[in-house]
Amino acid sequence: MNQMFPIGFEGPLAFYLVVYVLTLVVHVFLMAYVLAGSLWLAWVTVFPKATAGSIHGEIPRTKHPAARILRDWLPFALSGAITAGVAPLLFIQILYQQQFYTANVLLGWRWMVVIPVLVMAFYLLYIMKSKIISQWSLGIRIGLSICVAGSFLFVAFCWTTNHLLSLNASQWPVAYETGDAVQSLPALSLRLATWITGTFPAMGVLMSWQLRGMKSRTDSWRDVASDVNWLTLIEDEDRRIAWVSLAAMIASLILAFCYFLTLPEEVRSNLTGTAGILWIAVLLSSSGVMITGLIRQRRSHTGSKSWLIAVTGALFVQLTAAASLREIIRLTQADLSAVVQSTKAAAEIGGLVMFLVFTVLNAGLIAFCLWLVRRKQAP
């Protein structure tokens, strides 16, 4: 690898890599909202008391704007995360068929269990959204929220375990014999922790947009004392989330660096060599933009829209950089000639034009749906 990823690879390989990375970024963005959102909900359910001295100290945090928005939107976000996961799931089977399948089979039922766990978590999200839950005892509500967040953590754990196992072909026969799926616990923990902390900024950005949108619609939140000043509460919440995102993002960068240290020498030199160095630069500079933006947001009382746009853009650049670096790690350890061969053969199969035509059509129809809804909703 002597050029910036994915330049320098054969055409078909580069093409499938780009498609894979871009679709994975969408999945990660939505998955992040679900994972960080459910953790946030669990946190406020366990610690419902707002900070002492705050103007709205008497309202439990579970009734603050972020928690309300999360309960309302998590089921849909999960639908989105799952649907968005299907696309990279498809392309991973073109790029790394043998690795992905082998890791799946080696994990066996431990892998399959992801599905029932997600089904359960999905229904629990609907229960958390329903009205009956307010009549349940605190203990049950705490248990429920922890169960949901725990499920998503478990799913993330499974994906990371599967990924790491898939990278390590020489370990497969041993893994098959012993049933041990984890080769290095430190590497797994660091990688997983990087992901988990990394989900907060993505959730925070989307939440910021949602909070902005709710400013004019707080009348649906009348179940607490009517003299609540929702606007201040929303701004408070926005800043709190910016703060958490900032801290989590810095933690994520540090964890990523520690993970980097666990990688084999060859991988590290590709990451810091021509293949990866520019992506590292992109990752750090987009993170810099995000940090600046989040600090600005925390300072300003109104929440600056232009900074929010900048942070959103930087987030997607950052995720793309992270996903690209992730592929450099994998490609260094993969049998490159096999990947080149399989993508070359795949590129000769027809259907791309048809896909593009329907992508445009359906993107248009999706935009049409959203337009229909927005138009009618306007007061």
Binding site: L89, G108, A346, C369, V373
Partner: protein, 465 residues
């Protein structure tokens, strides 16, 4: 890297059964989602054109159930099928993804539309005009049906690849001989399921009185009228099937024939009830009866899926791949090279193997037989061979495709076959800790002759009647 995948031992259950279980649930739910979309469009239209005011109440209640069931379970069991297919036969799903990845990607764009249109309706329908709601429902139903359209092309290709075998053209593969009959057939099944579930929903909406219920039920039953076309489409589908597969279904394989009859019988019962009772006589159907009919529909779906999966044997993709992941054009080569020579995975499903021969036999079993058999659980090779003496066993396995034409030809060396026989015998004798029998050169050359007599071609239709 060689093309070996590890094979898991799922105990007495065959992986195929697990696959069938997940597949049936998913197909059932997905068909409900497709039909539900159509039913909702119809009822929304009834409501907004003033033909039925009660239809409005129904639309709201029904959509909630549709979202809760199909968005959640439907979507996730879909991913589940994918995961299960990988467990059962990674080479098969790999080949399908390879050939049809752009079709799948296209289908995925329709999933996205389905989710967005569905959610827009779900969240906002109370604030939207009738026309807008109908538009959203039509988009939802269109997207859901299109996902059936795409996947149907891939699934029917597995059994009837048709001209694709020669041309390798995507269009030939997608619009294969089975495409249209199975698409139309499935669409009718979708409508039937949606209609039956509709009848149940009508019975549980508390705010309806008896006449309103009756009216809605008779309207919902309209979606079952197309069942009239089922026999014709069914025959058309059977005619597109390869002769041997059709042979299994129509009596060649008792199990398959049984499932087929279950499917046909249940469909007939539902169809006659719907047509005579609900449509012509305008009878009422209570929740219990509707649920019973729905269970029958589930039985019909299950039977149909079993037949669909089973009738492909010995292939998972006709002429392209056998159920055990071996390609027909590999067999001759594997007879020389051996099928487990490069297998890097140790045997773990058997403990305390007495010697190398038996170990190789266990590997051969895992590679070639384990998709369809267990060693001593369900469809167990040890039980199936119990009445044979050793030479019969050798010959019948060497001529596997003639022993039962829905098995692939044996794809390994004569030594490997003998190892397999030793393994079976060892298990049959209660897995003793020492096993003396070795490789007898004469036996091996006899096996070679049998293998040559059997040839490397599959049985095809020639052995059926």
């Amino acid at each position: 890297m060689n093309n070996f995948y590890p094979v898991n031992d799922y105990g007495p259950l065959m992986p195929g059964l697990v696959m069938a279980g997940v597949a049936i649930v998913h197909v059932f739910l997905a068909q409900f989602a497709v039909g539900g979309g159509l039913l909702l469009c119809y009822f929304q239209w009834l409501a907004m054109t003033g033909r039925s005011e009660t239809a409005r109440i129904f639309v709201n209640g029904y959509f909630r159930i549709l979202v809760l069931i199909s968005f959640v379970l439907g979507a996730l069991t879909g991913v589940g099928i994918w995961f299960t297919s990988i467990q059962v036969s990674a080479p098969t799903i790999g080949q399908m993804v390879f050939n049809f990845h752009w079709v799948w990607a296209t289908e995925w764009t329709f999933f996205c539309l389905e989710v967005v249109a569905g959610y827009c309706f779900y969240r906002y329908h109370t604030q939207l005009s009738d026309r807008t709601n109908l538009t959203l429902l039509i988009l939802y139903a269109f997207a859901a049906w299109m996902s059936l359209f795409w996947i149907n092309g891939i699934l029917s290709w597995q059994l009837t690849p048709g001209d694709w075998l020669a041309s390798r053209s995507l269009i030939d593969g997608f619009l294969n001989p089975g495409f249209w009959p199975s698409l139309l057939f499935r669409t009718i099944v979708c409508m039937t399921l949606a209609s039956l579930i509709g009848c149940i929903v009508v019975n549980v909406i508390p705010s309806l009185d008896r006449t309103q219920r009756q009216e809605l039920i008779n309207r919902a039953a309209h979606l079952m009228i197309p069942m009239l076309a089922m026999p014709v489409l069914g025959v058309w589908y059977l005619l597109t099937m390869p002769d041997d597969s059709r042979g299994w279904v129509l009596g060649g394989s008792p199990a398959m024939m049984l499932f087929f009859m279950i499917s046909v019988g249940a469909s007939l019962a539902i169809g006659s009830y719907a047509l005579i009772g609900l449509w012509m006589q305008k009878l009422y159907i209570n929740g219990a009866t509707a649920t019973l009919l729905l269970f029958m529909a589930f039985g019909a779906t299950a039977g149909g899926e079993f037949v669909r999966e089973g009738s492909r044997k010995p292939y998972t993709i006709r002429h392209v791949m056998y159920s055990n992941g071996i390609r027909p054009d590999e067999v001759a080569d594997l007879r020389i090279r051996g099928c487990v020579t490069d297998d890097p995975y140790p045997v773990v499903h058997e403990k305390d193997l007495p010697n190398d021969t038996v170990t190789v036999g266990a590997k051969v079993f895992r590679k070639q037989c384990a998709v369809c058999h267990t060693i001593d659980g369900s469809n167990a090779v040890v039980h199936l061979t119990a009445s044979w003496d050793e030479d019969q066993m050798r010959m019948n396995i060497a001529k596997l495709q003639q022993t039962k034409p829905f098995m692939p030809p044996f794809a390994g060396t004569a030594q490997e076959l003998e190892s397999l026989v030793q393994y079976i015998l060892w298990v049959e004798s209660g897995r003793p800790s020492s096993w003396a029998q070795g490789m007898n050169p004469e036996t091996v050359s006899q096996i070679s002759r049998w293998l040559d007599e059997a040839g490397t071609e599959p049985a095809e239709a020639r052995s059926i009647r």
